[in-house]
């Protein structure tokens, strides 16, 4: 199987290890909704001024509830939908600048949540995996060799699965196929959008182990999107917490878990069911549902559900500010010195 290696080389590293593999600046996506005859036009602020970066070889997790914009972020990064504003730098380059869309597509791939909808029901598993390489000019025969090789890598015996159709295999096996399909172009960054969420728990563990193995073997970088905090903590180095289209907290996963600075992060962590019958949750950490991302509340978007609400929260939108120095940031008036919140550290003083 060594003959395939030179056929589809991974994209070359450009900026060296110090340059982030992905640098996202002020990413914004607004969807217009309504606005029919006589109806008032409204805007869904799905992703609003999101900035972050992913270092080479790192796994960054994005957590948040439905409507927080995590899946829209994934599709924007993949250039599957146009953005309203913002810059996406892949190893220092932008698509349309020095990087062609074709090369970008090879560098970044995605695994979707719905393992069934993300496979063409009329194609065999082998055909699905071989499709991408063929698009990039690999001959049919070589692409099939590559597909079978990758099936082996994701734990599917090619002689059993190559000619099967998606509906003939289980959910966990389908998600393995999707992972193989994403790896077929030798990407450097793989976005996993709720990739294990629909799987049964015992299968989820198998796929997480597989992702860990593949990351090591192919030197991958992951962006792991999930609503499951346990999974994100297990797999990520750094984590982004999103709420209604904005990043509310960002930092190394252990620092965020051990000392969450944003009240929303605290609520999310407290809402996880305890795995101990003697330590059941007694009080809901926050009440109410996440508000509709259509015309979200002004100021801090979390102020409608926050226990520490003060007038300043409804007036100004807090920017990400460092928490106790280092790489941990939170967008809350309580961590911004001199913000006007009674719990904020004094301006100029040491926190």
């Amino acid at each position: 199987m060594t003959l395939i290696e030179p056929i589809l080389e991974p994209l070359a590293d450009i900026g060296g290890p110090a340059q982030p593999l992905l640098d996202v600046k002020n990413l914004t996506k607004h969807f217009p909704v309504g606005g029919g005859f006589l109806a008032e036009k409204k805007t869904v602020r799905a992703v609003d001024d999101v900035s972050f970066s992913i270092a080479k070889g790192e796994t960054v997790g994005i957590v948040g509830e439905s409507g927080c914009g995590k899946s829209t972020t994934a599709r924007l990064l993949m250039h599957l939908m146009p953005r309203n504003a913002g810059e996406i730098l892949f190893d220092g380059e932008t698509v349309g600048g020095t990087l062609t869309m074709r090369d970008f597509r090879r560098g970044m791939q995605m695994v979707f949540q719905d393992s069934y909808a993300s496979l063409n029901p009329r194609l065999t598993i082998e055909d699905s995996i071989a499709f991408g390489p063929k698009v990039h000019g690999i001959a049919d025969k070589e692409a099939r060799v590559l597909a079978r090789d990758l099936m082996g890598k994701v734990g599917l015996r090619p002689e059993v699965f190559a000619n099967r159709y998606p509906h003939e295999v289980s959910g966990g096996q389908r998600q393995r196929v999707n992972i193989a399909r994403a790896l077929a172009l030798k990407p450097r960054l793989v976005i996993l959008d709720e990739a294990v969420s629909a799987l049964d728990k015992s299968v989820e563990a198998q796929v997480l182990n597989l992702l860990t193995d593949l990351k090591r073997e192919f030197g991958l970088t992951y962006l792991f999107i999930s609503h499951d905090l346990n999974v994100v903590r297990y797999i990520s180095d750094r984590v982004l917490v999103m709420y209604l289209g904005q990043v509310v907290e960002l930092g190394p996963v252990d620092e965020v878990w051990d000392g969450p600075a944003h009240p929303y992060t605290r609520a999310l962590l407290a809402a996880m069911p305890a795995l101990d019958p003697d330590q059941r949750t007694q009080e809901p950490p926050i009440t109410g549902d996440p508000p509709n991302p259509i015309d979200p509340p002004p100021g801090c978007r979390f102020h409608t559900r926050c226990a520490f609400f003060e007038p300043v929260c409804a007036e100004a939108c807090p920017a990400l500010a460092p928490v106790a120095g280092g790489a941990h940031f939170a967008a809350c008036h309580m961590v911004i010195p001199g913000s006007g919140h009674s719990r904020a550290p004094k301006a100029g003083g040491n926190p």
């Binding site: 597509r105 993300s118 194609l123 699905s128 015996r157 002689e159």
Partner: protein, 294 residues
């Protein structure tokens, strides 16, 4: 990787069967569909091989044996108002009737599927232009539209086929567009886009196979409509011209004899009815055969 190894051991090695093979197997198990298919096959074969069946000349009339009843010795299905053998004329008539029943649908299937696929996949302005143009045609009842176009183009078989094709293109386009739009929104199309494939490749590899089925089912159902409209055109004198045997035209000319010999007068209608019903049943059978769930 002991976990996956065990998973592989547990997985039975089975021969995969393609989607269409499965559909074919399910379809062939449907008794109603098979009976209809057999009837249609018999009619089509008879029409094709009519000259070799030893039938009476369908054009040769005789004033002395007009409107014989069904079952008359020598004239199994009687004779028409000009004394021509009905059995022979019905079988020969199948050639034209089936042609102008099926061909417009086949043409419209090709044109409508392409238009609908383009409109559904590309969306935006392309969709608006194609679909709003289609809406204009939709504004007319199909019978009127067919008559109007045939009237403008003049009577004749080719013109009937053209006018019927124009009638069916909007209907098939609309179905193709809606099916395409729903498939377009599935994740595997995004996955294909993410792998860098262009619009044409995606339409060919990923869209076509998933949209053809439902459109095909719909088109099969249109064949009966086409046959009835074609018969209608001939009946109005806009389609086939006498003395060509064609079921719609025969129905028209025999209508004067409906009180004299109602059995014979009804025969062309029976043929149209039987063929239409068979195509509709086949369409239904195909629809349920294609409805494969896990």
């Amino acid at each position: 990787m002991s976990a996956t190894d065990a998973a592989l051991q547990a997985a039975p090695v089975q021969k995969a069967r393609g989607y269409w093979a499965t559909v074919g197997r399910r379809f062939s198990r449907d008794k109603v569909s098979m009976v209809c298919a057999a009837v249609l096959l018999a009619i089509v074969l008879a029409a094709i091989f009519a000259p070799w069946l030893g039938l009476a000349d369908p054009y040769q009339g005789s004033m002395i044996r007009r409107l014989r009843h069904i079952g008359t010795p020598g004239y199994l299905l009687g004779t028409d108002e000009l004394g021509r053998d009905m059995l022979s004329r019905l079988i020969y008539g199948g050639r034209l009737s089936l042609l102008i029943g099926i061909l417009p649908v086949v043409l419209a299937f090709g044109i409508g599927t392409s238009l609908g696929l383009l409109a559904g996949y590309l969306g935006g302005a392309v969709n608006t232009i194609i679909m709003r143009t289609i809406d204009v045609f939709y504004a007319f009842p199909s019978v009127l539209l067919a008559i109007a176009i045939s009237g403008v183009l003049g009577a004749g078989i080719v013109n009937s086929i053209v006018s019927l094709t124009v009638v069916f293109v909007p209907q098939i386009t609309r179905v193709a567009e809606s099916v395409t739009t729903s498939v377009r929104n599935l994740d595997f199309v995004d996955a294909a886009r993410a792998s860098g494939a262009g619009a044409i490749t995606i339409m060919r590899v990923h869209m076509l196979g998933n949209v053809l089925g439902p459109i095909f089912v719909y088109a099969t159902g249109l064949i009966s409509v086409s046959m009835i409209l074609a018969s209608g055109l001939s009946f109005l004198g806009l389609g086939t011209k006498p003395p060509e045997p064609e079921w719609g035209l025969m129905l028209n000319t025999l209508r004067t004899a409906i009180y004299v010999n109602p059995g014979v007068a009804a025969l062309p209608g029976v043929m149209i009815f039987a063929v239409s019903i068979c195509f509709n049943m086949l369409s239904d059978g195909l629809r349920s055969a294609m409805d494969i769930r896990n």
